[in-house]
Amino acid sequence: MTTTRFQELIARNEVAHSQRRRITNAVMLTLTGLLTLLALIPLFWIVGYVIYRGGSTINLAFFTQLSRPLGMAGGGVLFSIEGTAVITILACLFAIPPGVLAAFYVARNPNTPLGVALRFGTDVLAGVPSIVMGLFIYVILVVPTKHYSAWAGGLALAILMLPTIIRTTEEMLKLVPHTLREGSLGLGAPEWKTSLSVMFPAALNGIITGFLLAIARSVGETAPLLFTALGNEQYDVGKIVQGGIQTHQSLFMIIGRIVNQPVDSLPLTLWKYAQQPYPERIDQSWGVALVLMIFVLLIEIAARLWVESRKRALQG
């Protein structure tokens, strides 16, 4: 095989600069790898340490009991787990319907004034510090209604979830092939039927992933709850339901009692416990951190696995 004149020139040029350039190349490329490793150190450090400290405090009582008085060992964080569940469910109920509907609008009309405004508004909302949501709900709800409550906390988290829900839903709706929509409309189905029965199911997988990611983010949030949910170490859904049944209250009233009082959530409990000087509380805060982390990471991983499997299914 003969080398061409051109190749020779390139080779010579390469030789002239090669030493410095090759070294730069090697050094910088290695550096990027090292930086990646550097960034992973905190991940393993945090996860490892939380498992190490939290693992030793977790037992059955941790999940099934309310808190004990300060300075007394034992007890659990059932109140906090229940509170998290109640707040999260409320946040989903408040955020998902308007979020999905708004996404339908913006996916269909991205360039109308309202569409442009909505996208900008969503961006702003995504950037607003979460503690400001807490301020907002405190001023417009907690003060006028004169009490802290689970649903005020849920509403604050719902505002936090809205941008994620709108954006992912919009993206997913846009990915649905035009032909599907046009086919449905061509067959005489009205727009709403097309949206709900053709577009929505087709985009459902992606949308649910978006929901999951939004939930994972909101479950770990503390700041908006400081001024809205307050905290409640005596929160016991089981007792409320049982008491409600005993005194023949309506379902509506029992639900009202569940959502209409202050509650704790896992990150809020963690924050309060971590600031206690009592060693039992600090230990428990590591336990709470472990539960919270497992919960969030599981949702996150589930969402990603779902996406991956869908991708594979679509490609294969």
Binding site: N13, E14, R21, N25, L29, T32, L34, L35, T36, L38, A39, L40, P42, L43, I46, V50, G99, V100, L101, A102, F104, Y105, R108, L114, A117, G121, D123, V124, L125, G127, V128, P129, I131, V132, M133, L135, F136, Y138, V139, I140, I159, P190, E191, W192, S195, A216, G220, T222, A223, F227, P267, L270, W271, A274, A289, L292, M293, V296, E300, I301
Partner: protein, 333 residues
Amino acid sequence: MKKISVPRENHWLARFQRSTHHGDVLWSGLIILASLLVLALVIAIGWMLWQQSADARVKLGWGFILPTSNATWDPLSGVFQSWAFIYSTLMTSLLAILLAVPISVGIAIFLAELCPPSLRLPLNWMIELLAAIPSVVYGLWGIFVFLPKVVVPIGEGLAILGQVPVLNSFFTGPIPLSGSSRLAAAMILTIMIIPTIAAITRDVLLAIPNSQREAAMGLGSTRWEMIWQVLLPYGLSGMLGAIILGLGRALGETMAVTMVIGNSLEATNSLLKPGSTMASLLANQFKEAVSQLHTDAMIEIGLTLFVITLILNLIARFLVWQVARRTPQEARA
């Protein structure tokens, strides 16, 4: 066989269906309503902050947010100047960006360009999981592990810079032995925003057409030259967007910062001293404002944060537009 029942012409249901275009009027009304609701929410947040801080804005004037050499925050005598908190917020966030950007870009390059395919998925996941860890967990780990083990030694080393003429006011030591300081907040923020910036930058790099890479390699550049001279300039607009997103996250982060910054109301410049950011001050003092003016001043801090995010969003949009407009010309030149 099932009969399809068609309502008669003037049956109420038929009239209703016709008048609403078979429900479409209702549907579009519903989605417009939802959109307006979301939009109204954003406006309501801004409006509430503006309205509720009206008294504070009138009484405290611009001195509330303008830089002063000796900012005072004294709820007892009703003197409120928030410069110390604005300074801490900007200082910690900018330092975090400064530290996070090179690391994140390095990670993004590694993930997008160099990583062996078998490692790519797990590494991507791990970087993104870093973003999913709740901020209180960062705070907890910060107090008990990161501050004493990492921040304190670094802070003690940096205190030497306190002797250097120009830098001395930024590095006046010693760092508290617990590590609670602006430096600690900045370092925790760095860890927290790396995944955000890295993930977006990676996506930006992956979106660059292969023709760019082939052209650069074809002209004889090394891999690094291809990345440094072609890919990074090409993806600049997206990366700026990523940085601004990271900055936004750093500015508004509350819990992790509150747990490590030391919550002091002091007004020194030093990185090695405790301070309060705007968000951490809100977390600490909002619920217990001692006077109406104190509450209003707090809400004005919230307003300041809100306005900063608004401006950042506008800048991000402008930059994206500007860079997108300029890049092709430069590439041609």
